[in-house]
Amino acid sequence: MSQFLQYMVAGVALGAKYALVALGFVIIFKATGVINFAQGGLVMLGAYLTYNFGVTWDLPFWVAVAMAMVVTALVGVVIERVILRYMVGRPAFALIMITVGLLFILQQVTVAIWGDDALNLGDPWGLGTFRIGDIVIQERDLWAVILAAAAVAVFFVFFRYSSLGLAMRATAIDQEAALAQGMSAKRVHAAAWAIAGATGALAGVTIAAGSASLDPSIQFIALLAFPAIILGGIDSPLGAVVGGLVIGITQSLTNGYQAEYLAFLGSGFQSVMPFVVMVLVLLVRPYGLFGTPEVKRV
């Protein structure tokens, strides 16, 4: 039983990291209707900036995180202003391909500045642990859960109660109608990219925390967050969190038990399992667990 709980705790922590990545996807999608493939690049950039401010410049860790969030948010705004602003109203596939291109550019810039060797983020948690009964919990994992919970609470309030959050939802549904209501699509899009950048940086910090685990490959965790956002519903912050937790727990349990009970599936099946779960859920709920179905009275 304690082994199972141990896997569950590890799964929740992993899921919280996926959830933070997924939240970045969700906010861009909610505001622009586009799946932002560059989100993994923002995650990576945010983690490297935290390293730069915290280790290279020797600033306190939380100051480094805050500065990384601000700078990554600004990078998001620059991307929107310099490139995507001119694509408003253009076909969605063109926007998506641009975000794919941006992912490669961000990767190249990051490697050019910081190299591709594994670095230590300089977080205060390292490999520190504490115990609750028989369960061992890593400090960095606890913080990942706390930060994900805080982020989703902020997202919920923002989208439900703020004018800008409501404008973002409206713009995603019908941009022309939003313009006719006096909403500025450009302002909405810039804000979405800023928030996605800041959230991405936070996600990058939780993923890269611990010793010697910051390298450019962390951008690929965005791909593993994909089943989470599709599963949860791509326009739902709550869905991003639930989807992230489901995927994280699924991966952790598969990692823990598959070799013992389903050895014939071979090694590494935990990376495939999230996609299996995603397909099964989508067969039953095509809009994901918390996604908004297109409703129309006929």
């Binding site: 409501l166 404008a167 019908d174 313009l179 006719a180 006096g182 009275r297």
Partner: protein, 236 residues
């Protein structure tokens, strides 16, 4: 009387091809002007041009003191123009309350929408996509009123609605103009109902103004209306 909209020798259309040609039209504060004509006459094109959602090809449009900007059409709305388009343009996945909130401008609130359409009060938490056609149209006009507009443009309020519903909704536009001094430009297929609530009317056919004048005079001239809608050749 304050001039809210002045259209002077306007030509507008799509891809450089004019749909509306040499149109002159104006709307003053507190009056209802009906823009009438058969399908394809250019009525919707005119409203889109005033809103800045479509560029003009020639002539000029002055709306609430300035020209519309196609680069920043939201500025027209912020200046005090509310446009209820043909397709209602509701945000179907948002609730009634959220749709109304989106209409509110600085200093306004949603209560004005409920004053004119009390039925919306019981539907506030329902998604707009689940409302009936009449309720959706109430919401679309109510959202426009929440902006406390100086100029309200309504395109085909009656589209897809039963005549009895239209008879309830159209008089609200007259009431708004009388109560608030808002200028109303209404595009409508229900010609006689529109003329009942309007002060003046303009009739377009094939993109050109074929008749204009006080609504009661046009209503009395059945032949003018028939020629406009059916074409002169078919009358004789």
């Amino acid at each position: 009387m304050t001039r809210l909209l002045e259209i002077d020798d306007l030509s507008a259309g799509y891809g450089g091809v004019p749909v509306v040609r040499h149109l002159d039209l104006h709307v003053d504060a507190g009056e209802v002007v009906a823009l009438l004509g058969p399908n394809g006459a250019g009525k919707t094109t005119t409203l889109l041009t005033v809103s800045g959602l479509l560029p003009s090809l020639a002539g000029s449009v002055t709306v609430l003191g300035g020209p519309p900007s196609t680069r920043r059409p939201q500025l027209v709305a912020r200046r005090g123009v509310a446009h209820v388009p043909e397709a209602r343009s509701l945000f179907t996945q948002l609730t009634v309350a959220e749709n109304l909130r989106l209409g509110v401008r600085r200093g306004g609130d949603t209560s004005v929408a409920l004053d004119y359409f009390p039925a919306l009060g019981k539907l506030m938490d329902r998604r707009a996509g689940l409302l009936s056609g009449g309720e959706q149209q109430m919401l679309a006009v109510g959202r426009a009123l929440a902006a406390r507009p100086r100029l309200l443009m309504v395109d085909e309020l009656s589209l897809g609605l039963a005549p009895v519903v239209v008879e309830q909704l159209l008089p609200v536009l007259r009431q708004v103009a009388d109560d608030t001094g808002t200028g109303v430009l209404v595009v409508e297929q229900h010609v006689h109902l529109a003329l009942e609530i309007a002060d003046r009317a303009a009739i377009l056919a094939h993109g050109e103004l074929v008749a204009a004048g006080p609504a009661d005079e046009l209503a009395a001239e059945a032949s003018v209306l028939e020629r406009s809608y059916l074409g002169a050749a078919t009358i004789d």
